[in-house]
Symmetry: D2
Subunit: 338 residues, 4 copies
C-alpha cells in the first residue's frame, strides 16, 4: 500500500513498535476518518473534546486532513490576514481514542503513506504578516513595517510540486502536527511541546514511527497539517500546505516512560525537543537521545554524549511557531551495535 | 481598608479604571471567596471549568488564596520532589465570571490589600530539582546532577518576614498569578502569556491595577500565588509563598483592544510581556509601551521610542517559569504631560 | 568636588575599594586627560595600543570623553548611516596604565562626577538603521525594511535635559563604557564582556565604584560613552550621548579573583553579566552575586540563592549591543548584617 | 592528489572561485607550512601578528595543524582542567598574507585534502568542565556541580576512527576554524563570527570552498582545528581532535561584498551565520542565503524566501562555543536553474 512514497516496510518487523507494542506488528481493522466523520476540526489539543472514534492498538486509520488554512485560501489574490484569525488555524482531525492507553504508556504512530487529495490537488504557501523566521513577530516584537503578504498556489501530484515556471520540487510529504492530549492543558494547534503538536519535522514522513507520551485515558490522538514538501525550519512560516489522505497505523507500548516525542525510521532513531530559545530545543533533543542510548542501547551516558559529539545528526523542524522544534538523531547502524 | 499595605487610594480617581470602567469608580458589593466557596482549586486556566461566582463590574471580592504548593509542604524536612507533581502546582481561585465581559474588552483588577492568613502565618520557600534560574531545567536540559532540595519555612506577619536568624525582610506582598481565560486554550497555572498567568511581577501589589484582555464571555478571572516578598526574577524558583487573604476590586473597560496585560499604579504605567528568550519578553513589553504612549498619550511612536531610551524602566518578573515575564514602565509624571 | 551630581562620599570609607585597595582611601595626584593629551581615540579595547598615561593607585583622572558618535552628528538633518561606520563607533579614552596592576588583581574605578562639556552642552540621540531593541539587526536578521533614521539634538545642563517642548528630563549621568584590557583579544568598543566594555548600566554613575578583573600588566583602563540619561535597556539603541568631563579615582586591589565586573554604591552591591540571550546575562549576574555573598559576606550559597529570590534587584543595562548587560544587586543593609 | 577523501574535482571548474577568482582556476605554487615554519601558533585572530608567509591567489599551502589542545592531552588519565587554560586553546596556523587582498574582497579557500599526521595518528576527545552543550557553562551560568572530566584517545587512519571496542566511525575530516582577520578587533580562536573563526561546520570538508570577507590588507588567513569526525553541534564540546596535514588552495575574488562566510561544494551553496541565541545564527544564515539567491541567481527575494521554506537545508555547526554556528543551504540543482 505504501509503494508510492513510503520506503520498504521490511525494517518494521524490527522496530520498537513491533517489538514492544501491544499489537506486536499485527495490523488490525482499517477505519476511514473522512471530513464527514470528523465533522468539526479542532484548533486546540487537549482533553476537553469528544473523540471521533475509538480504535484498538494495531488498527489503521485513513485520515482526510485539511490544509493548515482550513481551505480558506483559494487564490493568489486572497489576503491571509483577512481570512485567517488566530487561534483558528491548523485544523486537526481527532481525537482518536485508543483502547487501553493510560498515563505512562506510549502511543506509536506509523505513517504508511500520504497522498494528495481532491480532483485537482493544490498546494498553498503564504507569507502571513508577523509570522515566519525572517520577520518580526508577536514575540520578537519590533516596530518595523511587516513584510508584504504573499500567496502561492500550485499544482501537485504524488511525485512533484509544480512550484513555479522555474522550479519543480519533489513531492516529499510529511505530517506537520501529530499529538496526544496533555494531561489538563489544552494547547493550540500551532504550538509544539511534550505532547507533540506542531513539530513540522520533515522526518515525520511515510515510513516513520512517532512515539508520543500518553497522559490521559485513551491517549486522544490528533493529526493534521500535511506538507507536500518542507525545508528545514519552514522559514517563511508555511510549507506546501495541502489536503491529504494520510494513512497511519497506531500501536500502544505499555509503561514506556518518555517525556518528549521520539521518532524511528529505517535508518535512524531521533529524539525531539520543542522550546525557545532554539538552543533549549536542541538541548532537550540531545539530552533525550543520550538518555535513550543509555536506557535502551547499553551505552554509558558519557560515552553516548561523547560519541554523539562525533556522529549525532540534527534536524531543524520549525523555527516559526510559538516554540521551535529540533530532532537529534543517531544512525541505527551505529547505536544498534553490541 | 488598605491602610496596612496599600498606598493612598486618592490617585485611583484619575486611574484608567476609574475613568473608563463601567463602574466608573463606584464600589459595588463585597463577596467572600473562601476555601469552602472555592471548593476545588484549579491548575489550568481556560474556558472549560465552572465559575465559582458571578459578579458585576465594581464589585469587591475577598479571596482566600492557597500557597503555591497547595499547602503540601509543612516542614523543612519535607521533600518537594516527593510531594509535588507537575502540572498540579500553583492552585488558582476562580473562575469568577464578570457580567457583561466579552471578547475585546479589558478586565481591570485593583488589588486593595493582601493580608497573611491563618493563626500562625507561615511562608514557605523551596528549591525544587530542575526548577529555578541557576540550574538546568526541563527546557535548559543538561546532564549535570540537580541541585539539592531545600525547604525554608518562616514566620510572617503583616510587617515582616522572619527569614533567618540573620535577616528579617519587609512584608512586601504581591500576587504572582492573575489571569483571564484564553479563547480556546487552557494554560497551566505556571505559565504566563497574553492572558496573564504566572507573571510573578512584584509591581502587581496592593495599590496596583492590572488590565487583562478579555477573550471569552464573562472574562473568567483566576487568581492565586500570593508572595509575601519576591526579588526580581524569583531566582531560586519560589518566593515567600503563603496563604493570603487578598482583596480585589474588579471593573470592566469595554472595547479596549490590548493584546498583553498592562499595569498601573500611582507612579507608573507598565506594559507586560511574557516569552522566551528573555529578550523577546522585553521586546514585547517595550513595544506595547510604545504603542500605548502613541495611542493614549499623544506621542509620535518614534518620539516615544527614543524617549523611553532615556527614561524607560524595566522590571524582571519571573525568569524561572516556562515563559519569562518583563514589565516595561514609564513614570506618569513624564507621560501625562501635555 | 562631587556636590553637583554625586551622592555624599562618607560611605566611601567603608567601601571595598577603601578597605582593600592599595591606596587605602588616600587620594593621590590629579591628572587631566584632555582631548589633546588623548590624541587618537580608540574603537577597540585590547593590549595592542600605547598607554596615554601611567598613574598610581589612588590617583584621580579628569577625562574629556567624546560622545559615542565621535561628534560626527551635528544636526537633526544629519544621516547616521552616512556619517557612522562600524566598527569606528564609541571612541574611548585611554588606555591608562596603572602601576603594579597584574593578572588576578582588580581595578577599582570610583566615579566622582560627570559634567557637561563645551560652551553649549548638547546631547544627541538617534535611531540608526538595524540598531536598537525594537528592530531587526545584523544578528536578529530579518527581511523587513529598516526603521526610519532619526536624530534628536537637545540642550543640556548639569540639572536638566531639554528633551522636547513637552518633556524635560533630569540630568542623571552615567558612563556607558568602562574597561580593562582582555588578555590577548581586542574587543570593539560596542561590546560588553568580562573586561567591562559597553555595559550601558545606569548604576555606573557618579558615586559608584566599578571593579574590573585585571588581565594584563598595567590593567589598561579605557573609558568613554557618557550618557546624560538612559532608560533601562537603552531601547532605541542610543542614550543622550554627550561630551563629558568625567572625574574618576582609580585604585588597585591585589589578588581579588573575580571573573566579571562588579559595582558598589552607597546602597547596594551588584554583579554584572554580559551575554546573549538575555537570560544568560542574568544568570551570570546572579551567579556571581551568589558567589560573592558566599565568599565575602558569610552566606551559605543556598541561603544566598534562596534569599535573593526574595530581595534580589535586577537592572537591565543595554539590550541593543552585540551582548546584553544585566546587573544583579543586593542591598548592603541586607547583606552586611551578621 | 585528493583521491583519498575529497570528492571529484570536476565541479570546481564551474565554481564561483574558478569563475570569479583572480587565479581563474589555475593552480600556482605549493608552499609547506610546517610546525617549524609556523613557529608560534596563535590563539587570537586579528591584525596584530606577523604573517608567516605571503602567497599569490591560486597558490596551494600544505599546512601542519595542531590539535585543538595544542597536543597537551596525551593520555586518558590527563586532566583537561589542569592542562588547558583559556584563552590559550585551539592553536591556529597563519596568518598567511595574500597579495592583492583588500577590504571588500573575498578570500576563497578550497580544501583539497586532510590527512592524519604523525607516526601513530591519534584522535583526542574530552569533556572539559563547564564546556559543552549539555552542561552549565560560563555563559549559561548555573550552580550545579560540573560534569566529570573525561578524556578519550583513539587510533585513527585515513579511513576509520577506532572510537571504542563497540564502535568504529568513518574518517570524515573537516576543518573547524578558518578565518580572515577582523578590521581592528582580535577575536580568540574559540569564537566564530563574521570573520569566520571557530565555526565547526562539518561541510567545511575536503571538496568545499569557503568564502570569507576580507577586512585588512593581505586578508591574513588563519587555519586550524582539524576534526577527524564531528556530529552536528559538537555536542560534548570537542570533536575527534587531531594533528592534520591539510592542503588548501587559496584564491581572491575582488569586490564581492559579503558580510558573513559562505560555502560551496559540488551539491550545494551555503550561507553561514554565527550568533547567540541559536535562532539568530539561523536567521543570519537564511537571510544571507535569500540575499545571495536574489543577488546572484536571479530570484525575487520573496520567491527565494518562500521556496527555501520548501527546500532549504540547515546544518548546525557548533553550539558549544561563545557563539553558535548555523549553515543554511540550497541545492545547486535547484538554484542554478533558469
Amino acid at each position: 500500500m505504501s509503494d508510492s512514497n513510503g520506503p520498504s516496510e521490511r525494517w518494521l518487523d524490527g522496530s520498537i513498535m513491533a517489538r514492544q507494542g501491544v499489537a506486536g506488528g499485527r495490523v488490525g481493522q482499517t477505519y476511514r476518518l473522512t471530513e464527514a466523520v470528523q465533522g468539526d476540526y479542532h484548533y486546540t489539543i487537549g482533553p476537553y473534546s469528544e473523540p471521533v472514534m475509538e480504535i484498538d492498538p494495531g488498527d489503521r486509520v485513513v485520515v482526510d486532513t485539511r490544509d493548515a488554512f482550513d481551505g480558506k485560501i483559494q487564490s493568489e489574490s486572497d489576503s491571509p490576514s483577512e481570512l485567517l484569525r488566530m487561534p483558528f488555524l491548523n485544523p486537526q482531525n481527532g481525537p482518536i481514542s485508543v483502547r487501553g492507553a493510560e498515563w505512562g504508556d506510549v502511543l506509536a504512530v506509523y505513517i504508511e503513506e500520504m497522498r494528495t487529495r481532491g480532483e485537482e490537488p493544490t498546494g498553498t504557501c503564504c507569507m502571513i504578516p508577523e509570522f515566519g523566521a525572517l520577520t518580526g513577530t508577536e514575540h520578537t516584537a519590533i516596530l518595523n513595517d511587516p513584510l508584504p503578504e504573499r500567496v502561492r498556489r500550485m499544482r501537485l501530484d504524488d511525485e512533484y510540486i509544480y512550484w513555479s515556471e522555474r522550479n519543480v520540487l519533489r513531492y516529499r510529504p510529511h505530517i506537520g502536527t501529530l499529538s496526544v492530549s496533555p494531561e489538563i492543558d489544552s494547547i493550540n494547534a500551532l504550538t509544539p511541546d511534550q505532547h507533540g503538536g506542531n513539530m513540522d519535522l520533515p522526518d515525520m514522513a511515510p515510513g516513520s514511527i512517532t512515539y508520543l507520551p500518553v497522559r490521559v485515558p485513551g491517549a486522544r490522538l490528533f493529526i493534521g497539517d500535511a506538507h507536500a514538501s518542507q525545508g528545514d525550519g519552514e522559514v517563511c512560516g508555511t510549507a506546501v500546505e495541502y489536503p491529504s489522505t494520510t494513512t497511519i497505523r497506531v500501536d500502544l507500548i505499555k509503561s514506556w516512560h518518555i517525556t518528549w516525542p521520539r521518532l524511528e525510521n529505517e535508518e535512524m532513531i531521533m529524539a525531539i525537543g520543542s522550546a525557545r530559545p532554539l538552543e533549549d530545543a536542541t538541548r532537550i533533543a540531545y539530552r533525550e537521545l543520550v538518555r535513550w542510548m543509555a536506557a535502551d542501547y547499553g551505552y554509558d551516558q558519557w560515552d553516548a554524549y561523547m560519541m554523539l559529539s562525533q556522529c549525532g545528526r540534527v534536524r531543524l523542524g520549525n523555527f516559526v511557531d510559538p516554540k521551535y522544534t529540533v530532532g537529534a538523531g543517531a544512525l541505527k547502524k551505529i547505536v544498534e551495535t553490541h
